[in-house]
Each structure stands twice: as C-alpha cells, then as structure tokens.
C-alpha cells in the first residue's frame, strides 16, 4: 500500500473530521480535533488495512511561537510504515481524551505526558504519578516552557499507592530500589500467595535526570554527547538515532563511508551486549561457566572498541553529519580477524550451553510473554522477536548502510527465556556477518559533511534505530537560534517494562531475576 492510500483510508472513514493531511519528510501526518482522536486512533489501530501499533505518544509545548500544546501519536503499521496523528490544545485547555481504554500501549505515555506537561488524559484508568515521585511538589511539570531547567525543587509529603490484591494468604514482597547485584535502581512489588506470583507492579523513574529538558539547552552539535549518556550500554545506538534525526531535520547528507562505519559500530555494540547477556542469563540459572566465558569475550570486544576508537563504549564517534574519526584499513582488518576468533569461540560455547539439559530445563517455559500481550503493549526488539513479533528497524526502515547489507531477522514463537536467549545467540552470528559485509564493501571517501545549516523554528524530524535492545526513537523539533526546542527520546525499555509485569505471572519469585535478565531492559533509558 503506498503512502497516500493510508491517508485515504483514514479520510474515507472520517471525512470532514480530518482537519488536515500532510506529509512531513515522507511521514503521513493526519490532524484532527481532540475530541475525535480516540475514534481515529482506534481506527488506525484496528482497521484491517492499517493495523497500527502505537509506537510513541508525546507532547510538545509550542510556546513562545504559539500558545498551544501539540500531542502526537505515532503508529507503526503492519509491515513497518509509519502513520502519525496530531492534535492541538489551545490557550488554557489542559484536557485531552485518553486513548488508553482502546489502545493499551498508550498507558505509560499518557501518564508521562501528564507528569511532564500537566496535560490530563481524561478517561485514563490509572492517573497515578509515573515520573514524578510523590515528594515532588504539586504543579511541577518540567517540560513546560515556563519551567526553568535548573529549577530547585521543594519537597512535599506523599505516598505512592501500589495496586493491591487482598485475600487469605496473600502477601506482598517489596524489592528495591537498591538491589543485590550491580544493577540499576527500580522497585518491584510482588503479590504472592504461596510460591507463584499473582501480580507484579514495576515502579521506576528513580533515575530521572531531566534528560529531555537538558536537550533544550543545547545546540544540535552539543546534543550528541547527551544522547550518548541516555543509556550508557547503548551509547552508540542513541547517539546515532539522535544524529539521524538532526541530519534529517537539517537536510544533511551523510557520506557513504560514514554510513557503513555507523552500521559496523552499531553491530559491535550489539555484539558485546548480546554476548554479555547470554552469559548473564545462564548465570542467573546458576550456570556460571557461561558467564565466565561470555564475560571474557565481551571484554575482548570492548577492548577492540577501545583500540579502534579510544572508547570502550564507542563514545565521541558520532557527530551530526557523520563520524568524528576515520579508521585506517589495517586497524579494521586486525579487528575483523579478532572478531572471527571470537565468533568461533562463541559457537563452541553455544553448543555447550544448548547441550546442557538442566540449564534448558530452567530456561524453557519460564517467563512466557504471550504474543498477544506483546502486541497489546507494542513490544518489539529482542523481546518481541522471541514472542513472534517480526519487527526490525534495520529491515523495515533501513538506515545507515542496512539497505545494502544482507541479514536475517531471527523470530521465535514461544516467548520464554530460552527463546530470548536464542534470539540473542542468532543475532550474534548475524552481527558478525554484517560486520564482515560492511568491511568488504566499505567505500572510500569523506566521513563527515561539515556545515550545519540552521533549521526553521518549528520544523521537526523523527528517526528510528534498531539498537541492540530494540527500536530507539528520537523526535526533534527546531527552536530559535539554532537550539533544540524539543527532543523526545524513547528507549525500547520504556515500552517493554510494563510487559514484564505479565511475563512473570504464575512464575515463582526466585525465577524473577532470570526472567528480568532475559529482558535486560535499561532503567536509565526509561527514566531519562
């Protein structure tokens, strides 16, 4: 179906209710009045020719240009194309109708919008605070333009009310925010009767650092370094997504060599994280041998990163317009050779892992995320692909050099810990192959496109990158004087966290660390 057909489908169903239909940098955008949003969004979600998954919902404070807030909805239709919906709230209007009763995936987004902008989703079934913990004073909405980035916050008393299950023999187990291992802070509240988990509530945003607000202080070039620090383990994925959004907005063409190298670095990041995860998942099933081997392989790859670029996390590489350093071919060849050894090493190890019956016993049927639940939440990435959700931005919205590289997207159906492990193991091999292809076909030429033109205030762009966890999204809007007006960051973890609450049901608490590890979501990337 071509792009205009998508708009036509919506127009046919809603006629005069569609106030505008436009294409912005190739993305079809439909505008409607706020009261029509739930019906139109629901159509985009359910109509058999669209079947959109809500991938992102966010707001922008348009002041000082316009005294209004705009709310955007991004749908990923079946097969990958995007369709956007938008509405505006004028003047003192602070209410918009919630779509959560019809589209489950909106539930955290609408709570986030309320916390950050003070805009209330009417009809939302759960309007507790999400990002703002209870001690934040009333009326603190950091992304409003009249809230200053360095505002010193007071404190108030308050208590968060967890969902409760009552009944004989039901008790609650609180875990966190500080955990036993070296992990990020988050709170998990289990309700159990006997062994099985009846309910889990995840409470996050302990690490909220105000990233999106900080972006608004920066120029386009400065933003890269902040994007690298959204989630350290995905430094390259985030900075790449940010740069692509900025490049698309500024109309900068990235030279081919930089595109190939970007693919290469993104795969390197995927490799060290996936290999580390394989070891850590096995370790949480008490198979420490795999952790030791994977730990040393991961370390080796990070040392390769370091020797190539001077950063174990591939930081300082991306810049708006391309890359900041070029690599001589002898260094790249040496890295390729080292990676080949690691691949053989890893193949040996995966045979050992999958031949171990007692390990398999722990992994199979543990923490099943059903396909239906995953779809309702808009889950994608490694976790989605283990639950039969066939999405991969590298294939569906090719970026960097992926349109010229060949790779398979591994899909598993069972949605258990083992399936998530398998997806990672398969992707390690695919990444190794991608790196080989990128090196074989690496074009010569410049690696950056210098000049940064100034964009028109109010212009925006959207970009997606398949990071090692899944789909990273950045929305950027230009402000005055070459500054960023708004930067919406979405790490895949934000989407997948609520789904974990369903994957643990019926499992026992001692299996939670294993299930959690098989998801391995970012807390920093969620909390921002």
């Amino acid at each position: 179906m071509d792009r205009d057909e998508r708009i036509e489908s919506v127009k046919k169903a809603f006629g005069a209710k569609i106030l505008g239909a436009d294409r912005v940098r190739g993305i079809p955008v439909v505008t409607a009045a706020k009261q029509d949003i739930p019906a139109i969004a629901s159509h985009m979600h359910r109509a058999s020719d669209l079947r959109g998954t809500l991938s992102l919902q966010w707001a922008v404070d348009l002041r000082p240009r316009l005294a209004a807030y705009r709310i955007y909805y991004l749908f990923t239709l079946s097969g990958g194309p995007w369709l956007m919906l938008q509405t505006e709230l004028y003047g003192e209007d602070r209410l918009f109708p919630s779509i959560t009763p019809r589209i489950h995936a909106a539930k955290w987004y609408e709570r986030e919008i309320r916390d950050m902008f003070g805009l209330i989703a009417e009809g939302h079934p759960d309007l507790r605070r999400l990002v703002r913990h209870e001690h934040w004073p009333k009326g603190t909405h950091p992304l409003k333009k009249d809230f200053s980035w360095n505002h010193v916050m007071g404190r108030q008393d308050g208590e968060y009310h967890f969902r409760q299950i009552e009944g004989e023999g039901v008790f609650e187990v609180p875990v966190g925010p500080i955990h036993a291992g070296i992990i990020e802070p988050g709170h998990f509240r289990f309700s159990v009767a006997g062994e099985p988990i009846m309910q889990l509530e995840v409470r996050h945003f302990w690490k909220h650092r105000g990233v999106e607000k900080l972006f608004e202080n920066l120029t386009w070039a400065e933003g890269v370094s902040l994007a690298e620090k959204v989630s350290g383990d995905t430094s390259f994925g985030h900075s790449l997504c940010y740069c692509q959004a900025a490049e698309s907005l500024l109309g900068i063409e990235v030279p081919p060599r930089a595109n190939y190298l970007r693919s290469l670095f993104l795969e390197l990041e995927r490799l060290h994280n996936h290999i580390g995860d394989v070891g850590a998942i096995c370790n949480d099933a008490a198979y420490a041998l795999a952790l030791a081997h994977c730990g040393r392989m991961k370390e080796r790859i990070m040392q390769i990163n370091d020797s190539l670029t001077g950063s174990r996390f591939l930081r300082g590489l991306n810049r708006v317009g391309g890359l900041s350093i070029d690599l001589p071919s002898d260094q790249l060849d040496a890295a390729a050779l080292a990676l080949k050894k690691i691949e053989e090493d890893f193949t040996d190890l995966s045979k050992i892992i999958f031949n171990n019956a007692s390990l398999t016993d722990r992994l199979e049927t543990t923490g099943i995320l059903k396909e239906r639940t995953a779809r309702d939440h808009g889950v994608m990435g490694v976790v989605g692909r283990a639950s039969n959700i066939d999405r991969d931005v590298r294939r569906d919205h090719p970026f960097a050099a992926y349109d010229r590289l060949r790779f398979k997207v591994p899909i598993y159906r069972y949605g258990d810990v083992r399936a998530r492990l398998r997806v990672r193991v398969d992707e390690v091999h695919e990444s190794m192959d991608l790196i080989r292809q990128a090196l074989e076909n690496l074009p010569v030429g410049p690696i950056t496109n210098a000049a940064l033109p100034a964009p028109q205030p109010g212009d925006w762009a959207l970009s997606a990158v398949e990071g090692w966890r899944g789909e990273i999204l950045y929305f950027v809007m230009a402000g005055e004087e070459g500054k960023i007006h708004r930067c919406k960051v979405r790490d895949p973890s934000f989407v997948i966290w609520p789904a974990i609450q369903f994957a643990v049901l019926g499992n026992i608490i001692p299996d939670f660390p294993l299930i959690n590890k098989s998801f391995n979501l970012s807390y920093a990337g969620t909390d921002l």
Partner: protein
C-alpha cells in the same frame, strides 16, 4: 563434560590480559589510607547507583569478569550494605534517589569508605544543574575517594582500589 574441559584448556588463562591504564590516579591521602587499613587486604563493596547512565555500572561489572578478576585482590561485591566496608556510588544523585542514598549510607556499618565513581558522582558531569539532580554525592554523604572518567576504565578502577588497599599498582 569433555567439551567443557576442552574449552577451558583451549582458552587458557586470560586474567591480566588488558592494556595498562594510561591515566595515573590521584594519590590517596594519608587519612583515607589509614581509614582503609582496618579492612586489611579485603574489601567488601556495595554498589549504589544514584542515577548513572549505566556506563559506570557496566565497568564495575567488568571488574568481576575473568580478565580483571578483582576477587584476586580480595575485592568482592556484597549483596547488602550491612555486609559492606565501602560504598561505590555512581551517578549524579537524582531527586528520586537522594533518600535511598542516605538510607544506604546509614545502613552501612562503621567504619566505612565512600568511593564516588565516574564524573557524574564526582561533580554531576553533564547533568549538573538539572532540576532533577541534587548531587554530587559529597553534598549528601562524606566521600573519601573520587575516581573520575566517563566512565573510568576497569583497569583504572582496579588501580584506584588497589591503591586504597595499600597494594602496589
């Protein structure tokens, strides 16, 4: 079984296979050295993340892999602050983590050391001034050692810890 043994033999020993750190750590002040001396040659560490980007966590985790194997220097990670000799704190201390940090510090038995790890913990790094950040760490609890870097390499962290223990680098 045969495969596992074969794998171990083929791999050999990897401990110590890392480039020596190029950055030299600041010398440990005498007072801190004295405070650390009661722990002798062992150090139980509780890691507390107060809003890091998780880069510092990854490098702390790397310390425990077979390549750095910090355990060979008696450094291990305690599961609870009650078992810890030292707190390693990462991140700029967010508004939401401030109380948890103070609680953990209070729960750690005396004598104790506090190590601020990474630029964020030392001076809030890129997050300095944000409405959501109340750090740095030393604003809330006394800090004995600062290890800078974004993130510091594991070899640098290990060197700093060894220095604290009074070992040769």
């Amino acid at each position: 079984m045969f495969r596992i043994i074969q794998k171990s033999l083929k791999t050999g020993i990897v401990t110590g296979n890392y480039p020596a750190p190029t950055k030299s750590e600041r010398p440990v002040p005498d007072a801190v050295r004295k405070k650390a001396s009661v722990f002798g040659r062992s150090l139980a560490i509780r890691e507390v993340d107060t809003g890091s980007c998780n880069g510092c966590e990854m490098e702390m985790n790397a310390l425990m892999n077979p390549v750095y194997d910090a355990e060979r220097f008696g450094i291990h990670i305690a599961a609870s602050p009650r078992h810890a000799d030292a707190l390693v704190v990462t991140g700029p201390v967010t508004v939401n983590m401030e109380k948890a940090l103070k609680d953990v510090h209070a729960a750690t038995p005396d004598p104790k050391l506090v190590i601020a790890l990474g630029d964020c913990a030392c001076d809030c790094g890129i997050f300095k001034g944000s409405y959501a950040v109340t750090g740095p760490v030393e604003r809330h609890i006394p800090v004995d050692v600062k290890i800078s870097g974004c993130p510091p390499r594991p070899s640098e962290i290990l060197n700093a810890l060894k220095k604290l223990q009074g070992r040769k680098p």
